[in-house]
Amino acid sequence: MDFSWIIPYRELLLNGALLTCMLLVISVVLGFAIAIFLAIAQVGNNPVLRVAAKSYCTFFRGTPLLIQLWLIYYGLGSYLPYIPGLKGSFLWPLMREGLFFAAVALTLNFAAYQGEILRGTLLAVPKGELEAALAVGMRPSMVLRRIWLPRAIRIGLPTFAGEVILQLKATPIVFSVTVMDLYGAAYKIRQDTLLVYEPLILVAAFYVALTFLITQVFQRLENAVPARR
């Protein structure tokens, strides 16, 4: 076991770890926002929205993330230059980066899984609470905002922690579209130093530590939300 490469490569590793965390935060935050819409559309009354949301979730949950990532990076990416006006816009430098496509793919994927969970928890909120809210004169939109959605998110909190960990474990795939995340850094170190196991062990230890941290944070969060059992 030779770990002397850590010092010369510390910057690469640190940036990689930062990028992994950034991708995780971006995809979880944005994905959760999209998931709320997907869940509401699936339990709502509009048949067009319902079918659209359902098909979205089926597609993204039924195909590998790798295929989605390549579809977005190579497939959509090759059409982007033909969209008029996009090439000159301030967004263009961002859109040439693999990182942008990686973030999009991870976000859309997370939204599908989380949307399906929120759909279930929306249905699990006791009917009586919603009826009580309506009975005190809340409009349906206010019931959704004040009662239905907060309760559904609370019910889904334990599952949410698991989803975030799954998402963390999905991130290293982005190295296949030239993003230098933590795994990408380990891959480069392997190519440079011809060491196979040491970089992988270091990276694996980082993921385990981060997983542990996430479970602890969510444990705190769950304890902080008052709940009567």
Binding site: T58, F59, R61, G62, T63, P64, L65, L66, I67, Q68, W70, L71, Y74, G75, L76, G77, S78, Y79, I165, L168, K169, A170, T171, P172, I173, S176, Y183, A186, V196, Y197, L200, I201, V203, A204, Y207, V208, T211, F212
Partner: protein
């Protein structure tokens, strides 16, 4: 963008088209997934029984196995095990005086994914065994059934319906995880699509085609598992 004619040409089964390559890839995906699933199930069964009834060191080792495998990203595990496995095997062979062998990509893929699946299977089976009412096991013991008979007649039949939802999830996840094998260079569906796409520059078309194949596999699997669960839960009172 394309006339429909050229799409059909690109996706046709015979060589100018790439449909045959994709279908062969899909077959490889199914083969890897199924093999890994069986390996995982065998590992999971031993793991669950070991965790529930084994002695201290075995239980400790199994806890380490399930914790580490479930906390490290699949991609990292697959790459590490792929190299560690082939490297280790060759070291053992050269120690035994046999020259290095080229490990079959399919076998390596099945072994690696099966090892990962085994950790998840262990937890699914452990949970399913724990949810069997203790009274039933005690009744079986009271009748004088030996452990093997007890396992076959009591534990297995009442474990299957409890474990089926977990099994279904794991089957879908092994199909999706098998795409990661593309990263170590074995040509299953994902890599086949990538080869076809980069040869023809029709990225959108071939990745969508691959996605459609994956989707078909997962949807058909879903139907099969619902039918299986309905079969194994026959005679049980519905939960709701």
């Amino acid at each position: 963008m394309n006339s429909s004619n050229s799409i059909f040409q690109l996706l046709s089964i015979t060589p100018p088209g790439w449909g045959g390559v994709l279908l062969t890839g899909a077959l490889a995906t199914l083969l890897i997934s199924f093999g890994a699933y069986l390996v995982g199930m065998a590992l999971g069964l031993f793991g669950a029984l070991g965790k529930l009834g084994g002695v201290g060191p075995i239980r400790l080792a199994l806890n380490f196995y399930t914790t580490v495998v479930r906390a490290v990203p699949e991609l990292v595990l697959i790459v590490a095990l792929y190299y560690a496995g082939t490297d280790g095997l060759n070291r053992v062979l050269s120690w035994a005086g046999i020259g290095p062998v080229e490990v079959n990509g399919l076998v390596a893929a099945i072994a690696v994914l099966g090892f990962v699946q085994g950790a998840y299977m262990t937890e699914v089976l452990r949970g399913a065994i724990l949810s069997i009412p203790v009274g039933q096991l005690e009744a079986a013991k009271a009748f004088g059934m030996r452990p093997a008979l007890r396992f076959r007649r009591i534990i297995l039949p009442s474990l299957i319906p409890n474990a089926l939802p977990g099994f279904a999830n794991l089957w879908l996840s092994v199909i999706k995880d098998s795409a990661l094998i593309a990263v170590v260079g074995y040509q299953e569906l994902a890599l086949a699509a990538r080869v076809a796409a980069s040869n023809t520059k029709q990225y959108m078309l071939f990745f969508l085609a691959a996605a459609a194949l994956y989707l078909a596999i997962t949807i058909i699997s879903n139907l099969l598992f619902s039918a299986l669960e309905a079969h194994f839960r026959r005679g049980q009172r519905p939960i709701h």
